[in-house]
Amino acid sequence: MNDILSGIQAAFWLIVTLDADLIEITLRSLQVSLSALVIASVLALPFGTWLAVRRFRYRRATIATLNALMGLPPVVVGLIVYLLLSRSGPFGVLGLLFTPTAMIIAQVIIITPLIASIAHQAMRELWAEYHDLLISLNTTKRQRIMTLIWDGRRALLTAGLAGFGRAIGEVGAIMIVGGNIDHATRVLTTAIALETGKGDFELALGLGFVLIALALLVNFGIHSLSKTEREGRW
Protein backbone atom coordinates (compact mmCIF):
# COMPACT_ATOMS: atom_id res chain seq x y z
CA MET A 1 0.00 0.00 0.00
CA ASN A 2 2.89 2.32 0.88
CA ASP A 3 4.37 1.70 -2.56
CA ILE A 4 1.18 2.87 -4.20
CA LEU A 5 1.07 6.05 -2.13
CA SER A 6 4.67 6.87 -2.94
CA GLY A 7 3.84 6.15 -6.59
CA ILE A 8 1.07 8.75 -6.51
CA GLN A 9 3.48 11.14 -4.86
CA ALA A 10 6.13 10.45 -7.52
CA ALA A 11 3.56 11.05 -10.26
CA PHE A 12 2.56 14.32 -8.62
CA TRP A 13 6.16 15.56 -8.45
CA LEU A 14 6.91 14.51 -12.00
CA ILE A 15 3.97 16.57 -13.19
CA VAL A 16 4.37 19.70 -11.05
CA THR A 17 8.09 19.96 -11.81
CA LEU A 18 7.37 19.46 -15.53
CA ASP A 19 10.12 16.84 -15.76
CA ALA A 20 11.68 17.22 -19.22
CA ASP A 21 12.04 13.48 -19.85
CA LEU A 22 8.47 12.89 -18.75
CA ILE A 23 7.14 15.50 -21.17
CA GLU A 24 9.20 14.04 -23.98
CA ILE A 25 8.05 10.47 -23.53
CA THR A 26 4.47 11.55 -22.88
CA LEU A 27 4.40 13.50 -26.14
CA ARG A 28 5.90 10.54 -27.96
CA SER A 29 3.28 8.21 -26.48
CA LEU A 30 0.62 10.58 -27.76
CA GLN A 31 2.28 10.99 -31.14
CA VAL A 32 2.53 7.24 -31.69
CA SER A 33 -0.88 6.24 -30.39
CA LEU A 34 -2.83 9.14 -31.90
CA SER A 35 -1.20 8.56 -35.29
CA ALA A 36 -2.04 4.88 -35.05
CA LEU A 37 -5.60 5.82 -34.04
CA VAL A 38 -6.10 8.16 -37.00
CA ILE A 39 -4.71 5.70 -39.54
CA ALA A 40 -6.61 2.77 -38.04
CA SER A 41 -9.85 4.79 -37.94
CA VAL A 42 -9.53 5.80 -41.56
CA LEU A 43 -9.23 2.13 -42.44
CA ALA A 44 -11.55 0.58 -39.91
CA LEU A 45 -14.58 2.89 -39.67
CA PRO A 46 -15.56 2.71 -43.36
CA PHE A 47 -14.72 -0.98 -43.41
CA GLY A 48 -16.88 -1.75 -40.37
CA THR A 49 -19.76 0.25 -41.84
CA TRP A 50 -19.34 -1.35 -45.24
CA LEU A 51 -19.53 -4.76 -43.57
CA ALA A 52 -22.85 -3.78 -41.99
CA VAL A 53 -24.37 -2.54 -45.24
CA ARG A 54 -23.01 -4.97 -47.75
CA ARG A 55 -24.16 -8.59 -48.14
CA PHE A 56 -21.68 -10.98 -49.71
CA ARG A 57 -20.82 -14.63 -49.62
CA TYR A 58 -18.15 -14.80 -46.93
CA ARG A 59 -19.60 -12.03 -44.77
CA ARG A 60 -20.15 -14.27 -41.71
CA ALA A 61 -16.64 -15.65 -41.93
CA THR A 62 -15.19 -12.15 -42.37
CA ILE A 63 -17.03 -10.87 -39.30
CA ALA A 64 -16.01 -13.88 -37.22
CA THR A 65 -12.38 -13.43 -38.27
CA LEU A 66 -12.53 -9.73 -37.49
CA ASN A 67 -13.91 -10.43 -34.02
CA ALA A 68 -11.22 -13.02 -33.40
CA LEU A 69 -8.52 -10.56 -34.50
CA MET A 70 -9.62 -8.20 -31.70
CA GLY A 71 -7.60 -10.49 -29.47
CA LEU A 72 -4.42 -10.34 -31.56
CA PRO A 73 -1.52 -10.83 -29.14
CA PRO A 74 0.56 -7.61 -29.37
CA VAL A 75 3.83 -9.40 -28.75
CA VAL A 76 3.24 -11.63 -31.81
CA VAL A 77 2.33 -8.60 -33.92
CA GLY A 78 5.53 -6.99 -32.67
CA LEU A 79 7.62 -9.98 -33.64
CA ILE A 80 6.07 -10.20 -37.12
CA VAL A 81 6.45 -6.46 -37.76
CA TYR A 82 10.03 -6.75 -36.52
CA LEU A 83 10.78 -9.57 -38.96
CA LEU A 84 9.18 -7.62 -41.83
CA LEU A 85 11.01 -4.36 -41.08
CA SER A 86 14.34 -5.94 -40.11
CA ARG A 87 17.23 -5.19 -42.45
CA SER A 88 17.15 -8.86 -43.39
CA GLY A 89 13.39 -8.78 -43.91
CA PRO A 90 11.36 -7.80 -46.99
CA PHE A 91 10.95 -4.11 -46.01
CA GLY A 92 14.43 -3.75 -44.54
CA VAL A 93 15.56 -1.22 -47.16
CA LEU A 94 13.13 1.33 -45.72
CA GLY A 95 15.20 1.44 -42.52
CA LEU A 96 12.08 1.84 -40.39
CA LEU A 97 12.99 -0.50 -37.55
CA PHE A 98 13.51 1.19 -34.16
CA THR A 99 11.69 4.36 -35.24
CA PRO A 100 8.33 5.76 -34.08
CA THR A 101 6.96 4.85 -37.53
CA ALA A 102 7.56 1.16 -36.84
CA MET A 103 5.68 1.53 -33.56
CA ILE A 104 2.77 3.21 -35.35
CA ILE A 105 2.64 0.37 -37.90
CA ALA A 106 2.48 -2.24 -35.15
CA GLN A 107 -0.24 -0.38 -33.29
CA VAL A 108 -2.31 0.13 -36.44
CA ILE A 109 -2.29 -3.64 -36.95
CA ILE A 110 -3.32 -4.23 -33.36
CA ILE A 111 -6.18 -1.74 -33.14
CA THR A 112 -7.69 -1.79 -36.65
CA PRO A 113 -9.63 -5.05 -36.10
CA LEU A 114 -10.84 -3.80 -32.73
CA ILE A 115 -12.17 -0.52 -34.13
CA ALA A 116 -13.65 -2.19 -37.20
CA SER A 117 -15.40 -4.81 -35.11
CA ILE A 118 -16.98 -2.35 -32.66
CA ALA A 119 -17.91 -0.05 -35.56
CA HIS A 120 -19.57 -2.95 -37.35
CA GLN A 121 -21.64 -3.88 -34.28
CA ALA A 122 -22.89 -0.34 -33.87
CA MET A 123 -23.53 0.23 -37.56
CA ARG A 124 -25.44 -3.02 -37.92
CA GLU A 125 -28.13 -1.80 -35.54
CA LEU A 126 -28.24 1.63 -37.13
CA TRP A 127 -28.54 0.05 -40.58
CA ALA A 128 -31.54 -2.00 -39.41
CA GLU A 129 -33.18 1.31 -38.53
CA TYR A 130 -32.17 3.21 -41.67
CA HIS A 131 -32.47 0.36 -44.14
CA ASP A 132 -35.93 1.07 -45.55
CA LEU A 133 -35.46 4.83 -45.65
CA LEU A 134 -32.12 4.74 -47.46
CA ILE A 135 -33.28 2.08 -49.91
CA SER A 136 -36.47 4.01 -50.72
CA LEU A 137 -34.45 7.19 -51.34
CA ASN A 138 -32.56 5.22 -53.97
CA THR A 139 -29.14 6.08 -52.47
CA THR A 140 -25.87 4.68 -53.74
CA LYS A 141 -23.72 2.32 -51.57
CA ARG A 142 -21.32 5.17 -50.95
CA GLN A 143 -24.07 7.54 -49.82
CA ARG A 144 -25.48 4.92 -47.48
CA ILE A 145 -22.09 4.33 -45.87
CA MET A 146 -21.45 8.07 -45.50
CA THR A 147 -24.91 8.61 -43.95
CA LEU A 148 -24.41 5.81 -41.49
CA ILE A 149 -20.95 7.02 -40.53
CA TRP A 150 -22.24 10.55 -39.94
CA ASP A 151 -25.36 9.59 -38.01
CA GLY A 152 -23.54 6.94 -36.02
CA ARG A 153 -20.56 9.13 -35.26
CA ARG A 154 -20.96 8.84 -31.53
CA ALA A 155 -20.88 5.06 -31.58
CA LEU A 156 -17.88 5.30 -33.90
CA LEU A 157 -16.22 7.63 -31.43
CA THR A 158 -16.53 4.90 -28.82
CA ALA A 159 -14.94 2.47 -31.25
CA GLY A 160 -12.07 4.88 -31.81
CA LEU A 161 -11.55 5.49 -28.11
CA ALA A 162 -11.48 1.75 -27.44
CA GLY A 163 -8.76 1.51 -30.07
CA PHE A 164 -6.86 4.42 -28.54
CA GLY A 165 -7.09 2.77 -25.12
CA ARG A 166 -5.57 -0.40 -26.44
CA ALA A 167 -2.83 1.48 -28.30
CA ILE A 168 -1.69 3.79 -25.51
CA GLY A 169 -1.52 0.99 -22.95
CA GLU A 170 0.27 -1.46 -25.22
CA VAL A 171 3.84 -2.48 -24.47
CA GLY A 172 4.64 -5.89 -25.99
CA ALA A 173 4.77 -4.89 -29.64
CA ILE A 174 6.34 -1.45 -29.38
CA MET A 175 9.07 -2.78 -27.12
CA ILE A 176 10.18 -5.14 -29.90
CA VAL A 177 9.84 -2.85 -32.92
CA GLY A 178 10.72 0.41 -31.14
CA GLY A 179 13.58 -0.89 -29.03
CA ASN A 180 12.78 1.49 -26.12
CA ILE A 181 15.61 3.84 -27.19
CA ASP A 182 16.04 6.81 -24.87
CA HIS A 183 15.19 10.09 -26.66
CA ALA A 184 14.06 8.22 -29.79
CA THR A 185 11.44 5.54 -29.21
CA ARG A 186 10.86 5.47 -25.45
CA VAL A 187 7.19 5.87 -24.55
CA LEU A 188 5.32 5.71 -21.25
CA THR A 189 4.62 1.98 -21.27
CA THR A 190 8.14 0.92 -22.23
CA ALA A 191 9.57 3.34 -19.65
CA ILE A 192 7.34 1.72 -17.02
CA ALA A 193 8.60 -1.74 -18.02
CA LEU A 194 12.18 -0.46 -17.82
CA GLU A 195 11.79 1.11 -14.37
CA THR A 196 10.03 -2.01 -13.06
CA GLY A 197 13.01 -4.00 -14.34
CA LYS A 198 15.33 -1.73 -12.37
CA GLY A 199 13.24 -2.34 -9.25
CA ASP A 200 12.33 1.37 -9.09
CA PHE A 201 8.63 0.74 -8.45
CA GLU A 202 8.01 4.28 -7.28
CA LEU A 203 8.98 5.90 -10.57
CA ALA A 204 7.32 3.08 -12.53
CA LEU A 205 4.08 3.62 -10.68
CA GLY A 206 4.42 7.39 -11.03
CA LEU A 207 4.68 7.00 -14.80
CA GLY A 208 1.74 4.60 -14.64
CA PHE A 209 -0.47 7.22 -13.03
CA VAL A 210 0.63 9.77 -15.60
CA LEU A 211 -0.40 7.29 -18.31
CA ILE A 212 -3.83 6.78 -16.75
CA ALA A 213 -4.30 10.54 -16.38
CA LEU A 214 -3.31 11.00 -20.01
CA ALA A 215 -5.85 8.45 -21.20
CA LEU A 216 -8.55 10.26 -19.20
CA LEU A 217 -7.49 13.64 -20.60
CA VAL A 218 -7.55 12.46 -24.19
CA ASN A 219 -10.99 10.92 -23.71
CA PHE A 220 -12.41 14.08 -22.14
CA GLY A 221 -10.66 16.17 -24.79
CA ILE A 222 -12.13 14.25 -27.69
CA HIS A 223 -15.59 14.29 -26.11
CA SER A 224 -15.54 18.03 -25.64
CA LEU A 225 -14.05 18.76 -29.07
CA SER A 226 -16.70 16.68 -30.74
CA LYS A 227 -19.43 18.19 -28.52
CA THR A 228 -21.10 14.98 -27.45
CA GLU A 229 -22.83 14.35 -24.14
CA ARG A 230 -24.06 17.93 -23.92
CA GLU A 231 -27.42 19.30 -22.99
CA GLY A 232 -29.79 19.40 -25.92
CA ARG A 233 -27.55 17.27 -28.07
CA TRP A 234 -28.33 13.78 -26.98
Binding site: S88, G92, F98, G179, I181, A184, K198, G199, I222
Partner: protein, 265 residues
Amino acid sequence: MKRIIAAFLILFSTQLHAETMKLAVTTSFHNSGLSDVLLPVIQDEIGIEVQLIVVGTGQALRLGRAGDVDAILVHSKAAEETFVEDGYGTHRREIMYNDFVLIGPETDPAQIAEAATASGALQKIEAIQSTFVSRGDDSGTHKKETSLWSSAGFDAASFGAWYKAVGSGMGASLNTAAGIDAYILSDRASWLNFGNKGGLAVLFSGDPVLFNQYAYLPVDPERHPHVNATAARQLEAWLTSPTAKELINTYQIDGEGLFTFNATQ
Protein backbone atom coordinates in the same frame (compact mmCIF):
# COMPACT_ATOMS: atom_id res chain seq x y z
CA MET B 1 -12.27 18.48 -36.41
CA LYS B 2 -9.85 21.22 -37.50
CA ARG B 3 -8.67 21.60 -33.94
CA ILE B 4 -7.97 17.90 -33.74
CA ILE B 5 -5.91 18.07 -36.92
CA ALA B 6 -4.01 21.11 -35.63
CA ALA B 7 -3.18 19.39 -32.35
CA PHE B 8 -2.08 16.40 -34.35
CA LEU B 9 0.30 18.39 -36.55
CA ILE B 10 1.98 19.92 -33.53
CA LEU B 11 2.63 16.48 -32.13
CA PHE B 12 4.22 15.40 -35.37
CA SER B 13 6.70 18.24 -35.65
CA THR B 14 9.34 16.72 -33.39
CA GLN B 15 12.09 15.19 -35.51
CA LEU B 16 15.74 14.78 -34.59
CA HIS B 17 18.72 15.70 -36.75
CA ALA B 18 22.13 14.49 -35.56
CA GLU B 19 24.59 11.77 -36.43
CA THR B 20 23.24 8.69 -34.74
CA MET B 21 24.23 5.08 -34.47
CA LYS B 22 22.44 2.12 -32.95
CA LEU B 23 24.23 -0.01 -30.39
CA ALA B 24 22.66 -3.16 -28.99
CA VAL B 25 23.74 -3.62 -25.37
CA THR B 26 22.88 -6.10 -22.66
CA THR B 27 20.44 -5.27 -19.91
CA SER B 28 23.17 -5.79 -17.33
CA PHE B 29 25.34 -3.08 -18.92
CA HIS B 30 22.44 -0.66 -19.11
CA ASN B 31 21.14 -1.40 -15.62
CA SER B 32 24.57 -0.62 -14.19
CA GLY B 33 24.00 3.04 -15.02
CA LEU B 34 27.41 3.35 -16.71
CA SER B 35 25.78 4.19 -20.04
CA ASP B 36 24.22 7.30 -18.48
CA VAL B 37 27.74 8.51 -17.70
CA LEU B 38 29.36 7.54 -21.00
CA LEU B 39 26.74 8.57 -23.56
CA PRO B 40 26.66 12.33 -22.84
CA VAL B 41 30.49 12.45 -23.00
CA ILE B 42 30.48 10.53 -26.29
CA GLN B 43 27.95 12.99 -27.68
CA ASP B 44 30.14 15.91 -26.55
CA GLU B 45 33.50 14.61 -27.68
CA ILE B 46 32.83 12.86 -30.98
CA GLY B 47 29.39 14.22 -31.78
CA ILE B 48 27.66 10.87 -32.13
CA GLU B 49 24.30 10.21 -30.54
CA VAL B 50 24.46 6.55 -29.53
CA GLN B 51 21.01 5.01 -29.41
CA LEU B 52 20.93 2.02 -27.10
CA ILE B 53 18.77 -0.99 -27.82
CA VAL B 54 18.71 -2.75 -24.48
CA VAL B 55 18.14 -6.48 -24.90
CA GLY B 56 19.60 -9.81 -23.76
CA THR B 57 22.85 -11.01 -25.35
CA GLY B 58 20.97 -13.56 -27.46
CA GLN B 59 18.72 -10.92 -28.97
CA ALA B 60 21.62 -8.46 -29.33
CA LEU B 61 23.50 -10.99 -31.45
CA ARG B 62 20.37 -11.61 -33.52
CA LEU B 63 19.98 -7.86 -34.14
CA GLY B 64 23.62 -7.73 -35.22
CA ARG B 65 23.20 -10.68 -37.55
CA ALA B 66 20.17 -9.09 -39.18
CA GLY B 67 22.05 -5.80 -39.55
CA ASP B 68 19.49 -3.89 -37.50
CA VAL B 69 22.15 -2.24 -35.34
CA ASP B 70 25.58 -0.80 -36.17
CA ALA B 71 27.49 -2.51 -33.36
CA ILE B 72 26.91 -4.60 -30.25
CA LEU B 73 28.37 -4.55 -26.76
CA VAL B 74 27.81 -7.87 -25.02
CA HIS B 75 29.42 -10.37 -22.67
CA SER B 76 29.38 -13.95 -23.90
CA LYS B 77 32.75 -14.86 -25.38
CA ALA B 78 31.88 -18.10 -27.16
CA ALA B 79 28.80 -16.61 -28.85
CA GLU B 80 30.77 -13.49 -29.82
CA GLU B 81 33.53 -15.53 -31.44
CA THR B 82 30.98 -17.46 -33.47
CA PHE B 83 29.44 -14.13 -34.49
CA VAL B 84 32.78 -12.94 -35.89
CA GLU B 85 33.69 -16.32 -37.45
CA ASP B 86 30.36 -16.43 -39.26
CA GLY B 87 31.25 -13.10 -40.83
CA TYR B 88 28.63 -10.91 -39.15
CA GLY B 89 31.11 -8.78 -37.24
CA THR B 90 34.48 -7.43 -38.37
CA HIS B 91 36.24 -8.19 -35.09
CA ARG B 92 35.85 -8.49 -31.34
CA ARG B 93 37.42 -5.87 -29.09
CA GLU B 94 37.53 -6.40 -25.35
CA ILE B 95 36.63 -3.24 -23.45
CA MET B 96 36.17 -3.93 -19.75
CA TYR B 97 35.00 -6.47 -17.21
CA ASN B 98 32.91 -6.59 -14.10
CA ASP B 99 31.97 -9.60 -12.02
CA PHE B 100 29.04 -11.84 -11.22
CA VAL B 101 27.86 -12.44 -7.69
CA LEU B 102 25.66 -15.07 -6.09
CA ILE B 103 22.76 -13.49 -4.27
CA GLY B 104 20.39 -15.15 -1.86
CA PRO B 105 18.30 -14.71 1.27
CA GLU B 106 20.28 -13.12 4.14
CA THR B 107 19.68 -16.23 6.26
CA ASP B 108 21.62 -18.25 3.65
CA PRO B 109 19.94 -21.65 4.16
CA ALA B 110 22.50 -23.40 1.90
CA GLN B 111 25.48 -21.76 3.66
CA ILE B 112 27.06 -20.74 0.34
CA ALA B 113 28.93 -17.86 2.00
CA GLU B 114 31.31 -20.49 3.37
CA ALA B 115 32.01 -22.07 -0.02
CA ALA B 116 35.53 -21.77 -1.42
CA THR B 117 34.61 -21.67 -5.11
CA ALA B 118 31.60 -20.78 -7.24
CA SER B 119 31.16 -24.47 -8.09
CA GLY B 120 31.20 -25.32 -4.39
CA ALA B 121 28.52 -22.70 -3.72
CA LEU B 122 26.25 -24.10 -6.43
CA GLN B 123 26.77 -27.65 -5.14
CA LYS B 124 25.60 -26.50 -1.71
CA ILE B 125 22.45 -24.98 -3.24
CA GLU B 126 21.74 -28.16 -5.20
CA ALA B 127 22.34 -30.33 -2.11
CA ILE B 128 19.39 -28.83 -0.22
CA GLN B 129 17.47 -27.97 -3.41
CA SER B 130 16.99 -24.41 -2.24
CA THR B 131 14.87 -22.25 -4.58
CA PHE B 132 17.01 -20.79 -7.35
CA VAL B 133 15.88 -18.25 -9.95
CA SER B 134 17.50 -18.51 -13.36
CA ARG B 135 17.31 -15.85 -16.09
CA GLY B 136 16.43 -18.59 -18.57
CA ASP B 137 16.50 -16.14 -21.50
CA ASP B 138 19.67 -17.19 -23.32
CA SER B 139 21.35 -13.97 -22.19
CA GLY B 140 25.04 -13.66 -21.33
CA THR B 141 24.23 -14.00 -17.63
CA HIS B 142 22.12 -17.07 -18.30
CA LYS B 143 24.86 -18.67 -20.40
CA LYS B 144 27.33 -17.95 -17.61
CA GLU B 145 25.03 -19.55 -15.07
CA THR B 146 24.53 -22.66 -17.21
CA SER B 147 28.28 -23.05 -17.66
CA LEU B 148 28.80 -22.64 -13.90
CA TRP B 149 26.27 -25.40 -13.23
CA SER B 150 28.01 -27.73 -15.67
CA SER B 151 31.42 -27.06 -14.14
CA ALA B 152 29.84 -27.89 -10.78
CA GLY B 153 28.83 -31.22 -12.32
CA PHE B 154 25.12 -30.65 -12.99
CA ASP B 155 22.85 -30.21 -15.95
CA ALA B 156 20.58 -27.24 -15.22
CA ALA B 157 17.93 -28.58 -17.62
CA SER B 158 17.35 -31.63 -15.42
CA PHE B 159 16.55 -29.74 -12.21
CA GLY B 160 13.19 -30.02 -10.48
CA ALA B 161 10.71 -27.36 -9.42
CA TRP B 162 13.16 -25.59 -7.11
CA TYR B 163 15.00 -24.31 -10.17
CA LYS B 164 12.85 -21.57 -11.67
CA ALA B 165 13.76 -20.34 -15.15
CA VAL B 166 11.79 -17.10 -15.38
CA GLY B 167 12.82 -16.08 -18.91
CA SER B 168 13.16 -12.38 -18.09
CA GLY B 169 15.75 -9.62 -17.90
CA MET B 170 18.06 -9.14 -14.92
CA GLY B 171 15.80 -6.68 -13.10
CA ALA B 172 12.63 -8.72 -13.51
CA SER B 173 14.49 -11.86 -12.38
CA LEU B 174 15.81 -10.06 -9.31
CA ASN B 175 12.25 -8.93 -8.56
CA THR B 176 11.15 -12.56 -8.71
CA ALA B 177 14.02 -13.73 -6.49
CA ALA B 178 13.27 -10.98 -3.95
CA GLY B 179 9.63 -12.02 -3.96
CA ILE B 180 10.26 -15.69 -3.17
CA ASP B 181 13.57 -15.43 -1.27
CA ALA B 182 15.53 -17.42 -3.82
CA TYR B 183 19.17 -17.66 -4.81
CA ILE B 184 20.14 -16.01 -8.08
CA LEU B 185 23.23 -15.20 -10.12
CA SER B 186 23.51 -11.54 -11.06
CA ASP B 187 26.16 -9.16 -12.29
CA ARG B 188 27.30 -6.86 -9.51
CA ALA B 189 26.31 -3.68 -11.33
CA SER B 190 22.67 -4.65 -11.81
CA TRP B 191 22.48 -5.75 -8.20
CA LEU B 192 23.91 -2.51 -6.78
CA ASN B 193 21.54 -0.44 -8.90
CA PHE B 194 18.54 -2.58 -8.09
CA GLY B 195 15.96 -0.78 -5.98
CA ASN B 196 13.89 -3.64 -4.56
CA LYS B 197 16.46 -5.77 -2.70
CA GLY B 198 13.98 -7.15 -0.14
CA GLY B 199 15.63 -9.74 2.12
CA LEU B 200 18.41 -10.56 -0.34
CA ALA B 201 22.14 -9.98 0.00
CA VAL B 202 25.37 -10.81 -1.84
CA LEU B 203 26.51 -14.11 -0.38
CA PHE B 204 29.33 -15.23 -2.64
CA SER B 205 31.74 -13.37 -4.94
CA GLY B 206 35.39 -13.12 -5.88
CA ASP B 207 36.01 -16.42 -7.70
CA PRO B 208 37.91 -15.56 -10.94
CA VAL B 209 35.48 -17.71 -12.99
CA LEU B 210 32.86 -15.09 -12.13
CA PHE B 211 34.63 -12.37 -14.11
CA ASN B 212 32.46 -10.99 -16.85
CA GLN B 213 34.23 -9.67 -19.95
CA TYR B 214 32.42 -7.11 -22.13
CA ALA B 215 33.41 -6.87 -25.76
CA TYR B 216 32.52 -4.50 -28.57
CA LEU B 217 31.69 -5.95 -32.00
CA PRO B 218 31.04 -3.70 -35.02
CA VAL B 219 28.67 -5.21 -37.59
CA ASP B 220 30.48 -6.03 -40.82
CA PRO B 221 29.67 -3.33 -43.44
CA GLU B 222 30.51 -5.78 -46.23
CA ARG B 223 27.60 -7.95 -45.23
CA HIS B 224 25.29 -5.08 -44.33
CA PRO B 225 26.31 -2.03 -46.43
CA HIS B 226 23.79 0.26 -44.75
CA VAL B 227 25.42 0.16 -41.30
CA ASN B 228 27.09 3.30 -40.03
CA ALA B 229 30.61 1.86 -40.05
CA THR B 230 32.31 5.24 -39.63
CA ALA B 231 30.43 5.99 -36.45
CA ALA B 232 31.02 2.44 -35.21
CA ARG B 233 34.79 2.90 -35.76
CA GLN B 234 34.79 6.28 -34.02
CA LEU B 235 32.90 4.84 -31.07
CA GLU B 236 35.37 1.96 -30.79
CA ALA B 237 38.28 4.38 -30.80
CA TRP B 238 36.58 6.39 -28.06
CA LEU B 239 35.69 3.33 -25.95
CA THR B 240 39.35 2.30 -25.91
CA SER B 241 40.66 5.83 -25.27
CA PRO B 242 42.17 7.18 -22.01
CA THR B 243 39.00 9.24 -21.38
CA ALA B 244 36.88 6.10 -21.45
CA LYS B 245 39.41 4.31 -19.24
CA GLU B 246 39.19 7.07 -16.65
CA LEU B 247 35.36 7.17 -16.69
CA ILE B 248 34.93 3.39 -16.57
CA ASN B 249 37.48 2.78 -13.81
CA THR B 250 36.15 5.55 -11.59
CA TYR B 251 32.46 4.72 -11.98
CA GLN B 252 31.10 3.83 -8.56
CA ILE B 253 27.82 2.95 -6.93
CA ASP B 254 27.63 3.23 -3.13
CA GLY B 255 31.40 3.65 -3.02
CA GLU B 256 32.06 0.40 -4.89
CA GLY B 257 33.90 0.33 -8.19
CA LEU B 258 32.10 -1.80 -10.76
CA PHE B 259 34.05 -2.06 -13.97
CA THR B 260 37.70 -2.58 -14.78
CA PHE B 261 38.88 -1.21 -18.11
CA ASN B 262 41.09 -3.72 -19.94
CA ALA B 263 41.08 -2.76 -23.62
CA THR B 264 44.43 -3.00 -25.36
CA GLN B 265 45.41 0.42 -26.69
